[in-house]
């Protein structure tokens, strides 16, 4: 990626811009990284190594600071996303190596063994900590390091290198009998580090947990909003247009109530789909919707659907539709009871009724078809009616 901040370079007469967003000390490494597309951690490690060789790193760092300028509001400070092994990074490594070599030749050198160990340990730590590049919107450097994904390969390689460094240190002169003391010192150093960054890690995990919880809440809120929008708001809109038709308003409200209730209660509790009671609810809702008549359904017990109970439910549906079409009643009551060996159904309206004995009437034809259906399923159906007395069907099939 081409660094954005180079635009202001000519006017400002500075090598690069330092931003507060990726600052660890003065922002020099971050600025260099952005200007030249080299990872900031690579630069920091190089500077650290050069510092160990008698202070060359500090001098370079201060020089770069003088040659750079702080970011102003106009600068677009885009975080850099260098390639893992870009040519620039390799160049930075080579430059560091060359400087180290030069330092060694002019005598700024604490000793081969110490420097070698330091290089190995530093590379090991860098490899373990090295941040994967997929999400770089986190700008806090320590957070970036801690949030870097520790892939098994990286952890293994880094761990091996760090171990090699420790072994090199030990081989440099730590006697076997001094090993416990040396290990204790290492442990203390690690404990110190843990104390230093522990709270930070704790805050981070809490932060992540909170975000996760917030996300789940958001998902649920969105699901509910979608449901309410699709159902309740639509119905309310329809009802506003139906103010002159109370019956239609009532129906819309009833349908909505059913829908919302089944969404609220059934989905969550995982009611078995396809049992007798669920199917009966569906049938009642369908007829209510199609014919605009409130239907009061009561189910006692429940059972799996069989061919016989399916037939019974279809007969119930026919009887209910029949009542809705012809009875002029305000509502229809359906009662279903599941007993150990039989399922009984009652469909009742308080409407105009009919004469069961009369031949040729429309309702009689339907009555025959209801009875037929139930009898074919091995059950029986009785109808009780009379002009002005309402109608009640009693049907029963074996389970």
């Amino acid at each position: 990626m081409r660094p954005q901040s180079s635009k202001g370079f000519a006017e400002r007469r500075s090598l690069f811009v330092r931003a507060s967003s990726d600052r660890m000390v003065l922002g020099v490494a971050g600025g260099l990284s952005r200007q030249y597309g080299v990872d900031a951690y690579l630069i920091r490690i190089g500077l650290l190594l050069l510092t160990l060789t008698g202070g060359l790193g500090v001098i370079l760092y201060l020089a770069c600071w003088v040659l750079s300028s702080a970011a102003t509001e106009n600068d677009v400070v885009a975080p850099v996303k260098p390639q893992l092994a870009s040519a620039r990074s390799l160049a930075a490594i080579a430059a560091t190596g060359a400087l180290l070599f030069a330092a060694r030749n002019v005598g700024l050198w604490p000793g081969d063994a110490l420097m070698l160990s330091a290089v190995v340990v530093a590379s090991g730590s860098a490899l373990v900590w090295y941040r994967s590049r997929d999400d770089s919107d986190v700008t806090d450097p320590l957070e970036r390091v801690l949030e870097g994904r520790a892939t098994p390969l990286r952890a293994l390689a880094g761990g091996a290198l760090a171990f090699a460094g420790v072994v090199a240190l030990a081989a440099r002169g730590v006697k076997l009998e001094q090993l416990p003391a040396a290990l204790a010192a290492v442990a203390m150093a690690l404990a110190g580090a843990a104390v230093l960054i522990g709270p930070y890690v704790g805050r981070l995990t809490a932060h992540v947990r909170d975000e996760e919880r917030e996300r789940i809440r958001d998902v649920e809120r969105n699901a509910m909003a979608a449901q309410l929008h699709d159902s309740v708001l639509q119905t309310l809109a329809l009802m506003q247009r139906a103010t002159d038709d109370p019956r239609r308003m009532l129906l819309l409200a009833r349908r909505q109530e059913r829908e919302l209730r089944s969404w609220l209660y059934d989905n969550k509790s995982g009611v078995a789909i396809g049992t007798l009671s669920v199917r009966a609810e569906q049938i009642a809702a369908e007829v209510e919707l199609d014919h605009g008549l409130p239907i009061d359904l009561v189910v006692v017990g429940d059972a799996e659907l069989t061919a016989a109970t399916e037939a019974l439910l279809l007969a119930v549906r026919e009887a209910t539709v029949n009542a809705a079409k012809h009875s002029d009643a305000d509502q229809v009551s359906i009662y279903l009871e599941v007993e150990p060996h039989v399922v009984t159904a009652f469909v009742r309206d308080k409407g105009v009724g009919f004469e069961p004995g009369a031949v040729g009437s429309d309702r009689r034809g339907i009555a025959l078809s209801i009875r037929d259906r139930v009898e074919r399923a091995g059950g029986r159906a009785l109808v009780e009616s009379g002009p002005g007395r309402g109608t009640e069907w009693e049907m029963m099939v074996p389970r």
Binding site: P294, D296, V298, V300, G301, D302, S333, Y335
Partner: protein
Amino acid sequence: MSKIRVLVVDDHALFRSGVRAEIGDVVEIVGDVGTVEAAVDEIRKTKPDVVLLDVHLPNGGGVAILESLADSMPDTKCLALSVSDAAEDVIAIIRAGARGYVTKTITHDELLDAIRRVHAGDAVFSPRLAGFVLDAFASTKPVTTDPDLDRLTQREQEVLRLIARGYTYKEVAGRIHLSVKTVETHVSSVLRKLQLSNRHELTAWATDRRLL
């Protein structure tokens, strides 16, 4: 005869004013409140004959009100009113002491009838409540030392079935050749069993029912 004094407890102001408008000229509405705390205070202050109680209220619902008034207001009867007909809500509020349960879709004549009935000390069973009770007593086995409380008599079952089928008390009476008074006695007896039976299966049934 003086008008029945009614308190309406529901957290929806719209519903409260609706009830007021619908039945306010037949009964005396002594107040309407929307919270559990206000309801308890108002009931102690106005001593209504009948409380129309919403099952679902913030901070505990109708059950919380019934529990905090349990012994102190023997003359105040409660009629539960709800859009929810989940079995557990209905059984819980009846066991907490409500004298009946009707859904909010009830017509205004039926509601007045239910209020009168509850005021007179009878029980009000909607078809759905009757269905729940039949289901509960059929699907749990009697295990306690008081089998009378754990079982419905043949007659009681018969009455409940008819109510569940959509029969009014009067129609039930006509159908099985009893007086309306006798039907009311049977229903009240069922209510007593529902409230006093200490089978915890009854509560378990209500809770499980949604998971069937």
